[in-house]
């Protein structure tokens, strides 16, 4: 990466930290607005605690995300096979998006218990729709000439899907995965807020609630930052996957 690419965002970061420090020094109340250095200290002193929470939230988000990918791509693949299937199921996919996940969470706890699996399911619900929607869009946008080409050579539905529709849809699948990467982490935090601690210590969301109760605002901020970076890491991983799959041929990744 070249200097001129990294320099601008770093400058913005420095500027942000300066403004933040200045604002914090004006208030001078650690539990209201701790400065960046205080938050950094919380990071160091509570490092093991944070890593423990990160590990739990990471697992919840990862499982939720992987389930969302599996279910979302499969569901979209099924709907792409016929107009009737699509018309029958797509409205419910939309409802899944408009479903207030936070409000449904108590029901999920009722059904699946105060446990990690409930958090995973909430993360799944929140991150599912963008994957379904984008994958379906991609599977339906295959160039008509290519469809006709395959038709000319008697390709089966199966061959059509795996040699034509799916590869052609990869840019859209990746777009869906990128949106859902952050959502899966958000879903886990929301889930933890409602489901609560679980058996061992709990994840970042649970810790945020406890730390807030103790007025440990620097720790709250350190935890929020950790969760944000976790979502960012998910996003970057998917972006790397997207680059790997697309850089040879798709406009979005050709350098």
């Amino acid at each position: 990466m070249e200097i001129k690419n990294i320099a601008p965002p770093i400058l913005v970061l420095i500027l942000f930290l300066l403004v933040w420090s200045f604002a914090a020094s004006l208030y001078d109340m650690v539990f209201l607005l701790p400065g960046p250095l205080t938050v950094a200290q919380a990071f160091v002193s509570d490092f093991e605690l944070i890593v423990g929470g990160l590990w739990i939230t990471f697992q919840e988000a990862l499982y939720g995300y992987l389930l969302a990918i599996t279910i979302g791509v499969t569901f979209a693949a099924i709907m792409s096979q016929s107009k009737i299937l699509e018309r029958s199921f797509y409205p419910y996919a939309i409802l899944l998006q408009t479903l207030p996940a936070v409000a449904v969470a108590p029901l999920i706890v009722l059904w699946f218990g105060f446990d990690m699996q409930s958090v995973v399911i909430i993360s799944l619900i929140i991150s599912l729709f963008p994957i379904i929607n984008n994958t379906l869009l991609g599977l339906k946008s295959t160039s008509i000439n290519l469809v006709e080409l395959f038709q000319m050579h008697n390709s089966s539905r199966f061959i059509n899907f795996f040699k034509l529709r799916l590869p052609a849809a990869i840019p859209n699948v990746i777009a869906g995965l990128r949106i859902s990467a952050g959502l899966s982490v958000i879903g886990s935090i929301v889930g933890e807020f409602i489901v609560g601690s679980g058996s061992e210590g709990g994840g970042l969301g649970v810790m945020i609630i406890y730390a807030q109760g103790d007025l440990e605002t620097p720790l709250v901020m350190a935890l929020i930052l950790t969760a944000t970076l976790l979502g960012f890491a998910f996003f970057m991983t998917v972006s790397a996957l997207g680059y790997y799959l697309l850089h040879n041929w798709h406009e979005s990744e050709i350098s």
Partner: protein
């Protein structure tokens, strides 16, 4: 041979093709010319079996279609693109590599095996599209304005290459174009169609042998025939 009888086509309220009857001998090169929207591409798609019709089309088993935009798979490199139709037609795996190598050499794409379609020029894409079809040794080849997107110079070079490839394999060829000089250069017969609803208004025999080259274009016979056919197209309007 290919036999088209009583072929008509309506798209909802649009009467695309009136009634088309056409017999094409095995190994013959036929070009269909006509004004935009006359249904010549529709006719080609009907022959290909991609569009339904009330009439009937008799044709040999093995055919291929060359699309206007080359219709390559952008995620496959040249090698994988040239193998595509062989995969779909279940050509034995052991033969695929050798056939691909030989056909790429024929169309001058040796050395580009690892390139992706976006890295190729319009002419190279079309060569690849032709190679992918011809490697199947088709009985007939349908081409829908394959050269409309390439520059004039490349266009003439590709016409010569198509002529050479046809001369070598003698597949039955049907080409759709609105370039009359291209039609005359390549064909045994030129079929002239009327505006919508399309029907055949003239079939012009092209009296040149099967051994054509660049020089033919500047002969007076050639230019006269081109202007005759252009005239036939124009008088209809």
């Amino acid at each position: 041979m290919i036999s088209v009888s009583n072929v008509t086509k309506h798209f909802d309220k649009v009467h695309a093709l009136a009634e088309v009857n056409l017999d094409i001998a095995a190994g013959e090169f036929i070009t269909i010319v006509g004004p935009s929207g006359c249904g010549k591409s529709t006719l080609l798609r009907i022959i290909a079996g991609l569009v339904s019709t009330n009439g009937s089309v008799m044709k040999p088993a093995k055919g291929a279609f060359v699309f206007q935009d080359a219709a390559l798979l952008p995620w496959r490199n040249v090698q994988k693109n040239v193998e595509l139709l062989m995969e779909l037609e279940s050509v034995p795996k052991a033969q695929i590599a050798e056939k691909a190598r030989s056909v790429l050499q024929q169309v001058g794409l040796t050395g580009f095996e690892k390139s992706y379609p976006h890295q190729l020029s319009g002419g190279m894409k079309m060569r690849l599209s032709l190679a992918r079809s011809l490697v199947l040794r088709p009985d007939y080849l349908l081409m829908d304005e394959p050269l409309s997107a390439v520059d004039e110079l490349t266009r003439e070079v590709l016409q010569e290459e198509i002529h050479t490839l046809w001369n070598k394999d003698k597949f039955t060829a049907i080409l759709v174009t609105h370039n009359v000089a291209e039609a005359v250069y390549l064909s045994n017969r030129v079929v002239v169609m009327s505006p919508r609803p399309g029907e055949i208004i003239h079939i012009v025999d092209v009296p040149f042998g099967d051994d054509r080259n660049q020089k033919l274009r500047s002969t007076s016979k050639f230019t006269k025939l081109v202007s005759d056919i252009s005239g036939k197209l124009r008088t209809w309007k």
